[in-house]
Every structure is written in C-alpha cells, then in structure tokens.
Symmetry: C2
Subunit: 373 residues, 2 copies
C-alpha cells in the first residue's frame, strides 16, 4: 500500500499557484484538481464511466447523506462505497458537519458533538468526531475530512473564537481515531470565520496536530467574493508547502482560477451539476441559460470551443427542447457538459502551470468572458 503523498512539481513565478501530484492507494491525482460532488453515492446524472471519460480523477461523497441513507454499515457490508457505486478512483468524504448545520433540524452543538434531527424522517442523531471518522472509514474513503463546524457568516467574534477552538479539539479527536500512516489520509480544516488572527490560530493548531492535507472551511458561505479571495490569500500561505491545500465548497470557474492563483490545489462544488439540472451551462464565454427563447432554433453547440460529447453531437435547440420537456436526458447531457467544462478548465490550468504560462492563461480566461458582453 503506497502511502498518501503530495509532490510539488511546478511553482508559478508570478503567483502562489502550484502544480502538484497527490499519490493515493487508488491512483494519482494531478493538481490543481476539481472534484465532482457525488452526494448520495452517485454524481447526479453521471455514469462512473462518463466521469472517467471527462477526466474526473477523484470525487467527493457526503458523509451526512450516506450515514442517513442507506447507512454506512450497509455500504461497508456491500464492500465499501467504491464497489457500491462502481467507482475505483479515489473518493474524498466530507465530515458531515456542513450538512448537519445546513440540512439537519433542531441541531445543538456540545463539546461531544452535534445533535440533530434527520431532514429525511426526523430521527434523532448525535454526530461526534469519532462517529464521523467511523462513518468515513466504513465508506472506505481515501481522503477523510475532520469533523468541524462550518461557521456561518456573519458571526460574532466570540462565537468564532469558541467554535474555532472547539473545532481544533474535535480535529485532535479525529486524528486519534485515524493516526498518521493509516490506510486513509486525514485532512484538517482551517476555520476562524473572516477573522485573520483566528484563521492563523486555527492553521497553527492544526499543524501542531499534523495532517496529510489542509483545507479552508467556512468560505463560500455568503460572504462577498472579494472577502473570500482575501481569506484565501491570507490563509493559504499559512499552510505547509508539502501538503495539498483544499478550499471546500468553491466554486465558480472564476473562483477556481483565483483559488489556484492564491495557492489552492483542490476544489469541490455542486455548482456544475446543480446548475446543469437547472439548465444553466458553463462556457468559455460565460454562463448561458438554455431555456431562453433565443436558443429555440439555434443549431450551434453550447460552446463552439468545447469538444465534449454533448457539444460534438447536440444543438442548443435540442438541449432547450429536452429541458422544456422535463426529459431526464436534459440533466444527463447538461451535467456531462458542465463537468467536462470544469475538468477541461483545470486541465488547462495544469498545462499552463507546467508551461509557465499561467498569467497569460488567466488573462485570456477573463478576456474570452469579456468579449461576450
């Protein structure tokens, strides 16, 4: 069993951007990387083979959802999540914390953990750092995230202080369950709200414990984009260079490019998949809403610069028809295109970092978008 490892391959001379490679027992992950979200044991509307075709190297699965349904014990009994869902590449699992706070009802946080009621059936649960680790291990996760609290924004400083400290204590309890060098990698999550000193404190607390990778949590929670970029810019350099850095729940194509420029290696977001199901498609010249009347008799592909399966075979007029008709194929094709767009974007980012042309890539990325206005 190869140990989890991160190799820093290239460094951009003009920004914090880095080109690296993560090694896991289930294969390599070239970074920067975008991870499609597979909430309930499936990336919505995508076959695993299609995910591979578009170059997905790793997907994210949600601990909260799989814990409630079908249950981690069942998934383990069925041979683990990889076998259950027919996906043999790496899986990163979140800790369940974010969903407890966004979906769970009547939630209450104590030192022990977070008590909540299921959004599915109202049943009562107590999610602790230890249980979160047990669930993620039962799923067979390749990259386990520590159980933490995602602090809402805005929040009182006192709350941020208390929560960040508690999350640090929880992080230690997680490390105790999954020590360094075990089968799964464990990532710490920097909290601290929008307070730079608390972000620094959190980053230090986590490094004292020591993790295989580090994430920024509590971003993309409603704050201004500029503030999010500031927090990335401030926090990412606080993390060790020889470990992967992951900004959770981010984001738009622009967010990804800016995150890379600030030193981030890993991203995940429901945006490409969720937008797809709502008929919103990503292109090199910005977003389009396929339901619009202007596409009624538009024989062109979504994006003339895209060579994905959808753009090679289907017109905007057809995709609009499918969407308006409520056809399942609308979600299938739209999701395929959007995830391809994200994967190709990150592939282009990686190439530019290898070639030392990230700055011009970034300029051109915005230039194409501006042209469409």
């Amino acid at each position: 069993m190869t140990a989890f490892n991160y190799d820093l391959l290239h460094r951009d001379p003009d920004s914090q951007a880095r080109r690296g490679c993560i090694t896991t027992t289930r294969g390599e992950i070239q970074t920067p990387v975008f991870m499609p979200v597979g909430t309930q044991g499936t990336v919505k509307a995508m076959l695993p083979e299609a995910l591979k075709d578009i170059g997905a190297q790793i997907i994210l699965a949600n601990t909260y959802h799989l814990y409630l349904r079908p249950g981690h014990d069942l998934v383990k009994q069925m041979g683990g999540l990889h076998r259950f869902m027919n996906w043999d590449r790496p899986i990163l699992t979140d800790s369940g914390g974010f969903q407890v706070f966004s979906l769970g009802e009547l939630r209450r946080i104590t030192e022990e953990g977070a008590a909540f009621q299921s959004h599915l059936d109202g049943s009562r649960h107590l999610l602790t750092p230890e249980l979160s680790m047990d669930i993620q291990l039962a799923l067979g996760s390749d990259i386990v995230m520590v159980f933490d609290e995602c602090i809402p924004h805005p929040a009182e400083r006192k709350y941020v202080v208390d929560s960040t400290n508690r999350s640090a204590r929880w992080a230690r309890r997680c490390r105790d369950v999954i020590p360094s060098g075990s089968g799964s990698a464990l990532f710490g999550i920097v909290q601290g709200g929008m307070e730079t000193d608390l972000r620094q404190q959190s980053a230090e607390q986590l490094q004292e414990i020591g993790f295989e990778g580090y994430a920024l949590g509590g971003l993309s929670v409603g704050e201004e984009t500029a503030l999010m970029y500031d927090m990335m810019e401030y926090s990412l350099p606080l993390l060790p260079e020889n470990r992967p850095r992951y900004v959770m729940g981010v984001g738009t194509p622009e967010n990804l490019v800016e995150g890379v420029a600030r030193g981030c290696d890993m991203f995940d977001c429901v945006m490409p998949t969720r937008n797809a199901r709502n008929g919103v498609l990503f292109t090199t010249f910005g977003k389009i809403s396929i339901k619009q009347a202007q596409y009624r008799d538009d024989d062109r592909p979504i994006d003339a610069d895209c060579d994905c399966y959808v753009c090679r075979n289907y017109s905007r007029a057809y995709l609009r028809h499918l969407y308006r008709s409520g056809e399942i194929l609308a979600s299938v094709l739209n999701t395929h295109h959007n995830l391809y767009y994200y994967q190709q974007l990150m592939a282009a980012v990686r190439r530019s970092l290898e070639e030392g042309t990230f700055t011009s890539f970034r300029k051109n990325f915005y230039h194409k978008r501006d042209l469409s206005h």
Copy 2:
C-alpha cells in the same frame, strides 16, 4: 436510395412465427424486433449510444408530442429528427391519432380529422390525415404510420363499423400524400375493434390501397390478454406474407413471445422504459420491484442470467438505494437494464427461429418464470 423491403428468412414449422429482415435507407432491421419508444425526441433516460450498445435497431417517435413541442417545422429546420436527437438508425413515427384520443382534450372527430386541445397549453388543433403525413415527413421518418382512430374497448358495434370505415378512408388519403416508392415507407393499420368480421374487412380495405407494411391497432387497450391473443391469431394471417406486420403498443415479454408465435414481426411499448422509472425491473424469472425491503442488503445483480452493463456492475442494494433517493441514475440504470432485457429477448427469439427451436425456446421462457414462484 434502397427501396423499403421485407425479406422472409425463416418460418417456424410449429407456429406462425417468422424470422425476417426489413431493409430501409438507414439500414437493416432484423425481425422480430422490439422498438424502444422515444416519445419526445429521446428514449427517456437513454443516450443514443447506449441504445446502440444494447442492440436497438429502430426506435419509435411520437408525432403528437413532437408536433406540439418543439414543432415539426423546427425539427425539420434543424435537419430532421435523426440529426436533432443524434440517432442515425431507422425511426418509425406513429400518426398522432392514439395520443389525440388519450391525451388531447375536448377532442371531436369529423370526416376531415380530429380536433383537440393540447394537453400542454390548451391550444386548439385539427389533426388530419394530410397533416399527420406532413408532420411525419418533416420529422424525416423512415416508417410512417397512417392516421387512424384507435377504437376504445369496449365499444358499440355501430361505432366500430363507422370508425373502421372512416379510418380506411383516412388511410387512402395518407397513401395519396405518400405514394408507394417515395422516400418513406407507409404502414396501414388494421382496426375493427374486437369484431373479427370488421378486422377482416379492415385488412382487405387496406390491402386494396396497398402499403409497405401492416399494423394491428386497437389492441392492448384494456381487453383481456386472451382476447388480444385471439385478435392477433385471427388478424395477422389476413395480412400479406411479404410485408412486415406490427402489433402496436404491445407489450409485456410474454405478449411479445405470443405475438411472435402468431406471426408478428414488430412491437413497441413504453413498458420497459416506464416501468424502469418506477423501479420495476424485468428478469428471466419475472418482474421485481427494486424498492422492496428484501433488496436492502442484496449484493446480487438484478438478474444473474443477464450480462448487461447494469447487471455486471451494480447490486440490487445499490439500485434500491438510488431509487429510494430519487436519483436520476436510478432511471438511467433501470431503463438500460429493462431495454437490454427486451432487446436480448428478441435476439434470443430470432436465434431460435434461425435454429428452428422456437417451440422449445418458448417453453423454456415460461419454465424459468414458473420456477421463481
């Protein structure tokens, strides 16, 4: 452009079953054949490539639906239905009649045609034999069906007489629009309700006009299965041997095997696709409902005798989880399996007819189903 043709290749010595081959300008269709239904310009939840993978030779598209949305003129402008939906194999289009009577509102039949209001927006329309032909030609159909009335069951004899005669007059008007030897083949549809003499009269009226193929309409409309089989047994031998015979809207796997035994070459039905979306799956040992609790921790494939993509890669437990979670992938995988089951069934029927073993095939088909009870 190759003319439409039907070659009778093998005849079963013990039944009316026949093994044939239809030649169209878009390729050959080995019969007996099952045609997946692509109502709105997509076989629900299936990519065209997946349809080809499972051996679909021809699909059916619905004139009524495509006329109302996105409109046949738009489809024509986009290069025809084949290009619009990325399907280069043959397409059979129905006439719209069946949907006018089952979905249209405030419908009224006159000699001219059928007036109705759209089920989508209440808009008023008059579908005539001529318009139905125009629509089907605009779509670029390979096999056009005459515009007819599908008589409900039960029905007064007087109504059946009048309707059957009117459908015959409509059939002639359809033939006038699409003469023999034009690009699209035109099929006549035998009506006559459940009255054998009227079925005979209808079959004669149609042959007098002359069509490239003949269908039985007005079956599978709520009558007893035995009566449907009787009507097939009586009506199919009334049709010319050198033309393909199609029983419309039929049916279950058992119906297909019995239809073949009675001399039918072509079938279509929404059953495999619709059932799939409701979690009902076809197997060699009968149907199963994947939502049942007994499959919660069932690690086996849907059908151990099936070698489809789904059965090779996914467990009943996973499919149950997807279904309960309302995931799009549930519809995708269930549809794939069910259509594969139908395609494989027909492929096995064809092989048995080539090998002269249809009788034992039929016996074994029922034997496997009985074993499961």
